[in-house]
């Protein structure tokens, strides 16, 4: 039993990682209505920036703050320079631009920092809380706390601020949003900036665990995508719950479903997601689109 | 031809239709009026199986309409237009209309891919029908134009053509003269009358344009808050105090 609970704890830990990136995905979806394939790579790039700051001798927390700031500005710049020219083009065109961005950022990071892995300091202490045969690492706890805080902030942003209202308006109907006076361009840039910042948090959380290298976020992105889909692409709470469900399902499958084997375990969360989606096509926390002819 | 009994539809706390019942005889033209949000469009949506009824019954030519899957409605001879347009924006006007004849065609994936003579013949037939309707509704000029970007009034005609090309028996029109000026409304009434004769179609029309409704309908049903509050010949309904209070207001 303790073993089982321990697996769940571990699964939650992994899930929190996926959730951290899923939050960034959900954020940008809320702002712009597109899925950003480059989100993971931007997070990785932010982690490199943090690494570079630390390599230059800055202490971790200062490097963190600077990285978040740089990521925010960088995200806005990307929107202005890369996304703006295709604004108003068909949705898939924008999505493919983010695919191009993915390839570009990945290669650029390899070019600048090489593909060799780098270690990244863990902001959380190494130990673990032991209780009732369960062990809960401080690192896991720390990640969960950060993810929880980010989720809460995003929830407040979406639901309880004017900016949040404006950005949901932009995502749902850009031309009407303009008519009521929303600066759509700035709102989108802001969205990219914020998403890049949340992504940077994710990258900095992930890097100490998976080691920093240009392909670090590739696998995470897929699980984050799964998490966001499961939770519903329009809900930060959903992203987190989705991430945790995916993490736990994956871990339990790997641990207990022996006949499947570790090679096919990836199928288990996918099947679960498919099943849930068939019951709730808009995801667990998503709002069903109301369509009236 | 169409019998609606005790039809009820609820959305959460809102009762959009509340035990509505009425009948439509073959060949008739029935006007459906009522304040905004009375449930007129919802009724249409029920008839075309876009919404599920919570209670009640709908019989269409002795068939239980509520048991028919949505895509089979067209095959039964029921066609409709949409209140705020339901066109296929990227498709040309002609193709939009051809989709209206979808249920009369028989080409499947394989036969179409092989472009069999059968398919070719069918295609030619459909195109001829569509072209004659385009002509009738003065749409030939814009036949190859994508639907998106055309003026609202034109699009309303495209919708009408699309509904008619499948040679329906029952035509449901949701605010067809919306956005037309009075001359255009008059012209539209004339066209509709003629088409009705020619296609031998029964019509139920939702419209807030009283001049149009009173001028063209044989009978009028008035809904309010999902309930039927009046039914009868246009002139009678127009004088009905309930209808006046809920819908028409004082001076018209």
């Amino acid at each position: 039993m303790a073993g089982f609970l321990q697996e769940i704890v571990e699964g939650l830990g992994a899930g929190a990682i996926y959730a951290s990136l899923a939050l960034a995905l959900v954020l940008i979806y809320q702002f712009t209505g597109i899925v950003n394939f480059a989100q993971g790579e931007l997070a990785m790039f932010s982690a490199y920036i943090a690494w570079q700051f630390m390599a230059a001798g800055l202490p971790f927390w200062l490097a963190l703050v600077l990285t978040l700031a740089v990521s925010f500005v960088g995200g806005m710049l990307i929107e202005r320079v890369v996304i703006r020219p295709v604004e108003g083009a068909p949705e898939l065109t924008v999505v493919i631009v983010t695919v191009g961005l993915f390839i570009f950022v990945n290669a650029a990071a390899g070019w600048i920092w090489s593909f060799l892995i780098k270690d990244f300091p863990n902001p959380f202490p190494g130990g673990a809380i032991e209780a009732g045969g369960l062990s809960l690492g401080y690192s896991t706890l720390g990640i969960m706390a950060v993810v929880g805080v980010v989720m809460g902030l995003l929830y407040l942003l979406f639901q309880h601020t004017k900016v949040g209202l404006g950005m949901r308006a932009v995502a749902s109907n850009p031309s009407s949003a303009r008519l009521v006076g929303i600066r759509v361009g700035w709102t989108l840039a802001l969205g990219w900036g914020l998403a890049a910042t949340v992504g940077a948090v994710s990258g900095i959380l992930v890097a100490p665990l998976l080691f920093l290298e240009p392909n670090m976020m590739g696998g995470v992105l897929i699980y984050a995508f799964a998490a966001a889909t499961l939770g519903g692409f329009d809900s930060p709470v959903g992203a987190v719950v989705g991430g945790l469900v995916v993490g736990v399902a994956e871990t339990l499958a790997g641990a207990y479903v022996g006949f499947i084997g570790s090679d096919l375990k990836v199928g288990v969360p996918l099947v679960i997601i498919l099943f849930i989606l068939l019951l709730r096509p808009q995801g667990l926390f998503g709002r069903a689109a109301v369509e009236r002819a | 031809m169409l019998e609606v009994h005790d039809l009820t539809v609820r959305f959460g706390g809102i009762t959009a239709l509340d035990s509505v019942g009425f009948s439509v005889w073959s060949g008739e033209m029935v006007g459906l009026i009522g304040p905004n949000g009375a449930g007129k469009t919802t009724l249409f949506n029920c008839l075309t199986r876009r919404y599920d009824a919570d209670a009640g019954e709908v019989r269409y030519e002795e068939e239980n309409l509520l048991a028919v899957p949505p895509h089979a409605i067209a095959g039964l001879g029921i066609a409709r237009t949409f209140q705020n347009l339901g066109l296929f924006g990227h498709m040309s006007v002609r193709d939009n209309i051809l989709v209206g004849a979808h249920h009369t065609g028989g080409a499947g994936f394989l036969t179409a891919a092989l472009w069999l003579p059968r398919v070719r013949r069918e295609e030619a037939r459909l195109r001829a029908e569509a072209d004659s309707l385009l002509e009738r509704l003065a749409l030939t000029e814009v036949a190859d134009h994508p639907a998106a970007g055309l003026p609202f009034g034109t699009l309303k005609r495209v919708e009408l053509a699309r509904a008619l090309v499948g040679r329906p028996k029952l035509l449901l029109l949701d605010e067809p003269v919306n956005g037309l000026n009075s001359a255009e409304v008059e012209e539209f009434s004339g066209t509709l009358r003629a088409l009705r004769e020619e296609f031998d179609v029964t019509v139920v029309v939702v419209e807030h344009h009283m001049g149009f409704v009173m001028g063209i309908c044989d009978r009028v049903v008035c809904l309010d808050f999902g309930r039927k509050i009046a039914e009868g010949p246009p002139a009678e309904v127009q004088r009905d105090p309930g209808v006046m209070r809920a819908y028409l207001g004082t001076a018209i």
């Binding site: 749902s172 009407s176 009521v180 | 956005g179 000026n181 018209i252």
Partner: protein, 256 residues
């Protein structure tokens, strides 16, 4: 036409892509005036309003109270106090009715209008925006009962009311109405024009209204223009236009 017009449009040309729709439209509307635009289907009425609110690229000159609006983006123009009820309503489908209405006041300076801050502090009412929300509720009582409903599920007419309510939330200096009565029940249509009249009188809001119900439009307008194929073919005071033979035939035919 007033000498010191509030809104002046000179030789306005506009279109979509390569297709020109407006071929040099000029008009002037005085402050606090109501101006009706009539015209057949496809004449370019909608395009004219879109040009005024910056939704389509224009050539020519548009001035609002002296300020040049031509070539400005819609949000800049909205900030100048121009509210537009667009053709097709422009509802924010996934948002609630209340959110839709509050978005109308997005550019107003009452920072209290931040829906969130108010909710966070547990305060209700009090701000000017809240007062305006109340006002819209009295205009369109249906909306009040639907505040938390997703706007996309409203009936056609209800969405139309919502679009008008949203525009009023701005307390605009210039109100552009594109077929506001579209899909509204007769009673509401009459009420609507009473409201427009009232807003116009109380706040000296200038109004440009495109409307097929020419009777009603002309009954509240001071001046009117008839647009055909992208050109103004007839202008005058509301009475003059009403008296015109041609207009009577095309636009006033149905006297119900």
């Amino acid at each position: 036409m007033s000498e010191n017009a509030f809104l002046t449009v000179t030789d306005l040309r506009a279109g979509y892509g390569g297709a020109r729709v407006l071929h040099g439209v000029s008009l002037a509307v005085g402050q606090g005036e109501i101006c009706a635009i009539l015209g057949p289907n496809g004449a370019g009425k909608t395009t004219l309003l879109r040009a005024l609110s910056g939704m389509v690229r224009v050539r020519g000159d548009v001035r609002l109270d002296g300020a040049d609006l031509s070539g400005r983006s819609p949000d800049t123009i909205a900030r100048q106090g121009v509210a537009h009820v667009p053709e097709g309503r422009g509802t924010f489908m996934p948002l609630t009715v209340e959110e839709n209405l509050r978005l109308g006041a997005f550019v107003r300076r009452d920072r209290r209008s931040l829906r969130g801050l108010r909710d966070l502090r547990g305060r209700r009412g009090g701000s000017a925006v809240d007062a305006d929300l109340e006002r819209v509720h009295t205009y369109f009582p249906v909306l009040k009962t639907r505040l938390k409903q997703v706007a996309g599920s409203l009936s056609g007419g209800e969405q139309q009311m919502l679009a008008i309510g949203r525009a009023l939330m701005l307390r605009p200096r210039l109100l552009l109405l594109d077929e506001p009565s579209l899909g509204l029940a007769p009673m509401v249509t009459q009420e609507l024009f009473r409201i427009v009249r009232a807003v116009n009188e109380e706040e000296r809001t200038t109004v440009v209204v495109v409307e097929q119900n020419a009777h009603l439009a002309l009954s509240i307008a001071q001046q009117a223009h008839v647009l055909e194929s992208g050109r103004i073919v007839l202008s005058g005071s509301a009475e003059q236009i009403r008296a015109d033979e041609q207009v009577a035939q095309s636009y006033l035919g149905y006297r119900v």
